[in-house]
């Protein structure tokens, strides 16, 4: 019986949701749009020439490697930057923030010459080092290299694979802007949908007499709130899922889903639903409550490190940010799903859980259905 009522309410919410273009836009399309826009601004997608750092270790007389490099340059989209022979690849990439690098081994010319003798099978591997944070560009560059390699193989041996490419992923420790931005976007979107959903339920439904009506029906306040929470959780997971999919498919991010991520999403939903209840409790009129919601979420969005790291802000703002619940949500999600810093993520999750308990319980205790 109880489940019946909760389910009925959930289904009504679902229908209302997909019929409301405004809500659909703000919960689903808006965050995706924002990610794409910011992604385009910050990751330089749209360059027509790709920089490729090349470390050429081949020093034989013939230097057939120069021929290969020339071929790469002739494609017109690759700009070669030479790297000195004694550079250490990992630290060189890390220090100079290089996202991809090609190493031509010392036996390159030798191998190709050897391959010209009959009955000799030899091969040589080029090493393609790349940083995972720009997977799309890396893929493009790698395709170009592969094409050049294929035509070289064709010319040398009529197609037998003499030259190969070996992928080497480097973990630079430098994450891209999108890595930073995406978890923040999840936190921000959950905050928005929960606060505004909750404000609407506590102001408009009151004004329209729906809460009064419900008081006279057998549904209890806990059943009602439970059903609304269930729906908020559904929305939170839906938008998180969508944002994550954009991150993976468009930006090739490697995102980790683990228990802490789930806990953070659930706790964040409760946190901001509770906050919305409190706003609706003290600002009774729907429009003013909406403005109050904006007055709280808008500054929080900027100050809690959704769009740019806290370190870029003045000292006093950084201190201020640390009392904002959204800061812990953002940091927690980043550590749990991108940086894999479990200890930090755990700490942030606990802080979010505490915030959530306080706000949600306060919201429950302070709001009432009964009229004065």
């Amino acid at each position: 019986m109880m489940l019946d009522k909760i389910l009925a309410s959930f289904i009504s919410d679902l229908k209302t949701f997909y019929r409301s273009k405004g809500t659909l836009f703000w919960t689903l399309a808006f965050p995706v749009m924002l990610i794409l826009i910011f992604g385009a601004i910050f990751s330089g997608v749209g360059d027509i020439e790709y920089e490729l750092h090349v470390q050429n270790l081949d020093d034989s007389e013939q230097s057939l490697s120069h021929q290969f490099i020339q071929a790469l340059e002739n494609t017109g989209v690759i700009k070669i930057v030479n790297v000195s022979k004694d550079a250490d690849i990992d630290s060189y990439m890390d220090e100079n923030d290089i996202k991809r690098l090609l190493v031509i081994p010392g036996n390159y010319s030798e191998t190709i010459i050897a391959s010209q003798y009959p009955n000799v099978t030899v091969s040589v591997n080029l090493s393609f080092h790349y940083d995972q944070s720009e997977q799309q560009t890396n893929q493009v560059v790698k395709n170009i290299i592969s094409n050049v390699v294929r035509s070289m193989n064709m010319g040398i041996s009529g197609g037998t694979e003499i030259i190969g490419i070996e992928d080497i992923e480097t973990i630079s420790g430098e994450f891209s802007f999108i890595d930073f931005f995406l978890p923040g976007m999840i936190g921000f979107t959950i905050m928005q949908t929960c606060i505004y959903g909750s404000i609407e339920r506590n102001t408009r439904l009151r004004k329209d007499g729906i809460l009064r009506k419900l008081l006279t029906t057998p549904i209890t306040r806990s059943e009602w709130i439970l059903s609304k929470m269930l729906f908020q959780l559904f929305l939170s997971f839906l938008s998180a899922f969508l944002i994550i999919m954009v991150g993976i498919l468009v930006y090739g991010l490697s995102i980790h889903i683990n228990l802490l991520v789930i806990i953070l999403i659930v706790a964040t939903s409760f946190l901001f639903t509770g906050l919305g209840m409190l706003i609706g409790r003290f600002v009774r009129d729907e429009e003013s409550a909406g403005m109050a919601g904006g007055a709280i979420t808008f500054p929080m969005m900027f100050l809690a490190g959704t769009f740019f790291p806290l370190e870029q802000m003045p000292e006093f703002l950084q201190t201020f940010a640390k009392i904002l619940p959204l800061y812990y949500v953002n940091e927690g999600l980043r550590n749990a799903m991108i940086y894999l810093k479990t200890d930090d993520a755990l700490f942030h999750s606990i802080v979010v859980l505490i915030f959530a308990s306080v706000f949600f319980i306060a919201g429950l205790l302070l709001t009432k259905w009964k009229e004065d």
Partner: protein, 360 residues
């Protein structure tokens, strides 16, 4: 229940063919006219023991700051009657009805619904009542049918949604979104929502406020059909015509006090001025004197109009024959019957409709 079967003869609204239909009291039977094929419903009145008390309110009180919104009022409502709680805006109607519905907390007094004190057993009562709050608006983006289904699932006892849709005449709208309905239809949906648990008592707080006259009459028809089904209706309104048209029992509330209570007839007999016959632009000088001599209570106006108070209907004919006999010349005659407006004016010195208008 078969032994209660009754026959009812109705006339087809389209072709005026008379049809006799049998059914049980409280039943609504679908009928098709044998000659024109028109489809309709026939409601068989429920037999309700009118002596049973549905709602009993005693010394109910609510104070907001300095304002006594409801001042120790006492009244009771019998089962099966339409009770109109009539009063201007701010009289205390909503405060009273919402205390009875357990939405607001009374500051004094007791309320019993179907014999149960609601301060302790309102949960038992919930299944048996249906309410339409004042200025109610349902979920914007659910269709009429979905809305009724949602509210219906909240109850153990569920009336058939199709029957409600038929009875409220919402068939054509059942798949429309609530937000796309006109004001009158929205109110009808509101009444329909109040019926999803087939309640014994229906509370309607100003169900026709803000509607145009046509939509108002449609809602009245719906309320009248509730009475036919044997439901007890608690109706609050500031329209006296609404109370006159629908109510079996009227209580007039003014500034938190019930100032008069009874049937329409009782109220008019007790507080009304009786009927007045109005002779417009009387040109015969002696007319007033002649009528006075014949024992009538005559009041001459400055503009030559004459007003005569009528205590018995038969005296109207008497006046007309005097007018003809004495060749009294006049423009026109009309008769104004006493109404609730007059009762209210008599009791408070203010006009109900104006007061309601001013407050808005």
């Amino acid at each position: 229940m078969g032994f209660l079967m009754a026959d009812k003869t109705v006339q087809c609204p389209k072709c005026s063919q008379k049809i006799t239909i049998s059914g049980n009291p409280g039943e609504i039977i679908k009928a098709t006219c044998p000659s024109c094929g028109n489809k309709g419903r026939v409601t068989f009145k429920k037999i309700v023991k009118k002596d049973d008390i549905a709602i009993e309110v005693s010394k109910l009180r609510k104070v907001y700051g300095d304002l006594v919104a409801v001042n120790d009022i006492t009244f009771s409502i019998r089962r099966g009657e339409v009770f109109a709680f009539l009063g201007p805006n701010g009289a205390g109607k909503t405060t009273t009805v919402e205390m009875i519905e357990s939405i607001r907390q009374p500051m004094g007094g007791t309320i019993k619904i179907l014999g149960k004190d609601i301060s302790t057993s309102f949960d038992d009562v919930k299944e048996k009542i249906g309410i339409l709050p004042q200025e109610f608006r349902s979920f914007e983006r659910l269709t009429v049918k979905e809305t009724l289904e949602f509210f219906s699932k909240l109850y153990k006892k569920r009336a058939s949604i199709n029957v409600i849709i038929d009875a409220m005449d919402l068939r054509d709208q059942k798949n429309k979104l609530y937000m796309d309905l006109s004001g009158g239809l929205k109110q009808r949906v509101g009444v329909a929502i109040a019926l999803v648990n087939d309640p014994e008592i229906v509370f309607l707080d100003e169900p026709t406020t803000g509607l145009d006259p046509k939509a108002r009459r449609e809602v009245w028809a719906v309320i009248a059909s509730l009475r036919d089904e044997g439901k007890t209706v608690f109706l609050t309104t500031h329209y006296m015509e609404e109370a006159e048209f629908l109510a079996d029992h009227i209580a007039i509330i003014h500034k938190g006090n019930i100032i008069a209570e009874g049937s329409l007839e009782e109220l008019i007999n007790k507080y009304g001025q009786g009927s007045i016959l109005h002779i417009k632009k009387c040109k015969t000088k002696d007319a007033a004197r002649i009528l006075k001599e014949n024992g009538f209570n005559v009041n001459t106006k400055n503009n030559g109009d004459i007003e005569i108070k009528i205590d018995f209907k038969e005296r109207v004919l008497e006046i007309l024959s005097i007018l003809r006999h004495e060749c009294i010349d006049y423009d026109s005659i009309d008769i104004r019957c006493s109404n609730l407006e007059e009762v209210f004016l008599h009791l408070t010195g203010a006009r109900l409709s104006e007061e309601a208008y001013d407050a808005r």
